[in-house]
Structures are given as C-alpha cells and as structure tokens.
C-alpha cells in the first residue's frame, strides 16, 4: 500500500485534489457565491490554503522519517509548488483586486505594515524554491547548493504564520494552532540534527 509505485500512481489525483479548491473559489467568485465581501473572502481562502500547504511540505519531511511512509516524500515537490501557486493567487488578489494595481499604495503598505511586510518577504522566499524545483535544476546547482536554497522554507513558514497571526483581531486560536505545529516540526529537525551530531562524535 505504501509502495513508491502506488504513490506515483496517485499523483494525478493529488494534483487534481489540490487544484480543485482554487477552481471552485474562482468559479464562486465569478458567479457571486462567495458572500458579500468576495474579494476579502477569496484572498483569505488562497492565503490560508497556501499556509496549510507550506506546513504540509514540512510535515511530509518529518513523516518520511517513518520507514513505512518514506515514499510520501514523492509528493513534497508537487505540494510545495501548489503552495507557491496559492501564494501567488493570494498575492495577485491583493495587488489586482484589493488595491487595483495602486502601486504607490501597495509599496507603502508593504513597508509600513509589519504583517504585510512579513507576508511579502515570505512570498519572496518561495520564489527561488519554485524556480529551482525541477530535477534539472537540482543537477545544475548540485544537491548541496540546492538544499541550502531550500532552507528558505523556514523563514517562509515562520513569517507566513506571523502574517496570519497579526492579521487576526481577537481570537488567535487558529493561527496559534498553526504556530504550534510549526514549532513541533522545527523541534523534530533540531532533535534530529543533535542526534546526528552525537552519532558522529
């Protein structure tokens, strides 16, 4: 059940599953079924989906430590690219629909508002990850360099969780849950690193 072959076979379905929400929201947006403030709603949905997928890529790396689940790492790239896809939709909604390409306003907004600054930096961090996602790029850069670039996922996930946390006005439960998961995933990595160091000594 957990064989590489099975995982590879399920890829197209996972692709469709991850694509589906965006198509649904866009359709609902066009047909006027996203409530009375559709721009805010679609921006929130895209953003939240992006954050969830970023966290999911980290979780996959962690779960892949379990022997039986090793092959789920095969999904990581696709999920990461979908995270980038949703971040791009989120950012585009902000630029085009929310502020109508008012570059002056957007520029000031990014500089002045920490929560937007955080979100924006997080978006910038994800760009090189998306650009270097192909096998060819891994080869060209060498795995070591490639891996270094991909450490950018850490500032990206931390900043985007703060971006969400700071946006919420009173009930911080949901962003706190995401932050808690992120902390656990980071702790697992630190523990693993320490373990390796000990083994090397």
């Amino acid at each position: 059940m957990f064989s590489t072959k099975n995982f590879n076979r399920s890829k197209p379905y996972i692709f469709l599953l991850l694509l589906f929400p965006s198509l649904l929201w866009i359709l609902q947006f066009i047909t006027g079924n996203l409530g009375v403030n559709p721009i805010e709603r679609i921006m929130d949905e895209f953003g939240l989906m992006a954050l969830r997928l970023i966290i999911l890529t980290l979780a996959i790396t962690t779960l892949a430590n379990i022997k039986k689940l090793k092959s789920i790492v095969l999904f990581r790239r696709m999920i990461g690219l979908f995270a980038f896809y949703y971040v791009t939709l989120h950012f585009s909604t902000y630029i085009f629909l929310d502020h109508f390409l008012d570059i002056n306003f957007i520029f000031k907004d990014i500089i002045k508002r920490p929560f937007i600054t955080f979100g924006f930096i997080s978006f910038l961090c994800l760009i090189p990850l998306a650009l270097t996602s192909t096998n060819q790029m891994v080869k060209r850069l060498g795995f070591k360099v490639w891996k270094k670039i991909h450490y950018l996922i850490y500032p990206a996930v931390i900043l985007s969780s703060f971006h969400f946390y700071m946006l919420v006005r009173a009930d911080k439960t949901e962003p706190m849950i995401y932050m808690g998961i992120i902390v656990l995933l980071l702790l697992q990595r630190i523990a693993k690193k320490l373990n390796l160091l000990q083994l090397n000594q």
């Binding site: 409530g35 009375v36 403030n37 306003f105 508002r113 006005r169």
Partner: protein
C-alpha cells in the same frame, strides 16, 4: 408561552409616535414615510433613496444581516447570522444608573412609548476598512438622556451589552472580556446623529445586528456602536471600553473615522464598500464632518484616536 407586548408592537404603532426632525442633515435625514410601507422594506429599498448622499447606494438586507462583527456570536463575519438563533431579546429592559436624577430599570416597550422612532440612513465604516449604507429605525440617544436626567457632574456615558453565554456562544470563549462595553462623551451622546436603533429595513432589529436595541454613532468606527444594550451608566470620568482595554495601541476611546490616522496594522485611507468592486476613499468623520467636527476642535486626533 405568554406573548409580550413588546413582541407584537408593530412598526405602524411606532410611526404614530413619530414626529419630524426639524434640522436637515447633509447626508442623514429623518423623515416622512407613510405608515403602510413599513411592512417589507427590504424588497423596496428605493424608498430610502431620498436620504442617500449622491455617492451612496443602500446595501441589501442580506448584506447587512449576513456580514457582521458581533463577537458574542463568534468571530467570523458569518457567525452572528448563523449562531444567533437561540438569542431571545424578549422581554428586554435597560438599567439606567450612575449620576442621574431618575435611576431606573426601564422596560423597552415603555421606553419606546416615550420616544420618537425615525428612519436614519447612515454609512457604517468598520475599523477593518469596509463599509455599508444601512437604513436604521431608531430614536435619538438624547431623548433617553432626557428621561435619565443626568446631573451636571455626568460627563460620560458607558454602555454595556447583555451577558448570556448560554445564548451567545461567543461569550463562552474569552476573546474579549465580557460583557462588551463602550462609551461616549456627553456631547457626543447628545449629538443629533447619535441614535439608539431598534430596527433596520423596517424590521425589528435582527439578532445578529444587535437585537433589540443598539447604539449607532455614524462618524465613529463600527465597534463603538455597541449592540444588545442592557445598561447605560452616567459617569464623571472616561469609562473603559472593550477594544481599548484589549489593545490600547490599536483602538482608542474616540475611534472617530479618520483617513489620515492609520490603524497600526492597516491603512484607514480607503475602504471597501460592501457590494462595490473598487475601494473608495474614506471620508473624514465618515462624511459627517459638518455635524461633528466642532466636537473635536481642541483634540489632537493622532493622540486621541
């Protein structure tokens, strides 16, 4: 179940008590609708058009009643309309207390028999940078203040929302220190724009909008317009208010709509009018500058935001 008088008082009765307001406001006007049209205003919002500013269109009943900030019923915009079904605002009474000559607990129905219900079409600007245009029915807060008959030492008024965690699921969570509290300076409270609203679109106030009675202060951010009021206190000093207590660096006591003083996390210079695609410029005092600017001529509004 016993049916209370307050449940069956139709709007036509309110209308009989209505008198016309003398002064005219630039954008908010009180008025003259023949009594029979009160039946179902939401299907004919055109009747309010004559009170609208030239750049405004009225929001639909659906928009006004499904997109709400009323944390007592949950923190998402949809929660109040979904979670307020068990809230029962009948019967209702309001406690008037503090520095007044007539402290009392007044039954809402009795109160309504002493005041004049009017139509008031106001812009509502939320601190979150969205806005609506809403046709309220209500009476001037100044009328209630006259009933309370404050002492000269009363300089501020505090309002308190009902505390009913069993009917208001949001109150079971400590997002805000319940009950919700708000306040006004006496001159703000006496201003003729300030109303206590008991209906919208000709309906009894829906639960999600603050049944059965709420404050509406159209030149201030929406959070000042406290809902489901059970107590009104007259004080000699500025009262604590909920949002200011929760995050004083973000929300002030005054909370006047002001495009040049930003919220620390976002700009207040523009807003999204619900139902419109493009953002619009936010107006000073939400466009009610003429009526209220004089109240703040000696106030540093960057400090007292």
């Amino acid at each position: 179940m016993k049916i209370l008088g307050s449940e069956i008082t139709p709007y036509s009765t309110y209308l009989n008590r209505r008198k016309f307001i003398k002064g005219t406001f630039a954008t908010a006007v009180a008025t003259t609708i023949s009594s029979n049209v009160f039946a179902n205003h939401e299907t004919s919002p055109d009747i309010y058009n004559k009170y609208l500013g030239e750049n405004d269109t009225i929001n639909s009943y659906e928009e006004i009643t499904t997109y709400n900030n009323f944390y007592e019923f949950g923190t998402h915009k949809k929660h109040p309309s979904l979670n307020s079904g068990n809230f029962n605002p009948n019967p209702w009474s309001i406690k008037l207390e503090g520095l007044i000559n007539n402290p009392q607990t007044i039954d809402l129905e009795k109160l309504l028999s002493k005041v004049t219900i009017e139509d008031r079409v106001y812009r509502l600007r939320c601190v979150e940078a969205w806005s609506m245009v809403i046709p309220w029915q209500g009476f001037q807060l100044s009328e209630l203040i006259k009933i309370a008959d404050p002492l000269s030492s009363a300089k501020y008024i505090q309002f308190v929302t009902v505390l009913r965690p069993e009917e208001m699921p949001g109150q079971q969570k400590r997002t805000i220190i319940w009950p919700y509290r708000e306040g006004l300076r006496m001159d703000e409270a006496m201003n003729s724009l300030t109303i206590l609203a008991t209906g919208l679109y000709g309906h009894k106030m829906p639960n999600q909008n603050g049944a059965p009675i709420r404050l509406v202060v159209p030149w201030k951010y929406g959070f000042k317009s406290i809902k489901s009021i059970v107590a009104i206190r007259f004080l000699n000093e500025q009262p604590e208010t909920s949002w200011e207590t929760l995050a004083p660096w973000e929300y002030g006591f005054y909370a006047n709509v002001n495009p040049s003083v930003d919220h620390p996390r976002w700009s207040q210079s523009t807003e999204r009018r619900i139902g419109e695609f493009k953002r619009r410029e936010t107006l000073m005092f939400n466009g009610y500058e003429e009526e209220v600017a004089h109240l703040y001529k000696d106030l540093d509004m960057t400090k007292f935001y």
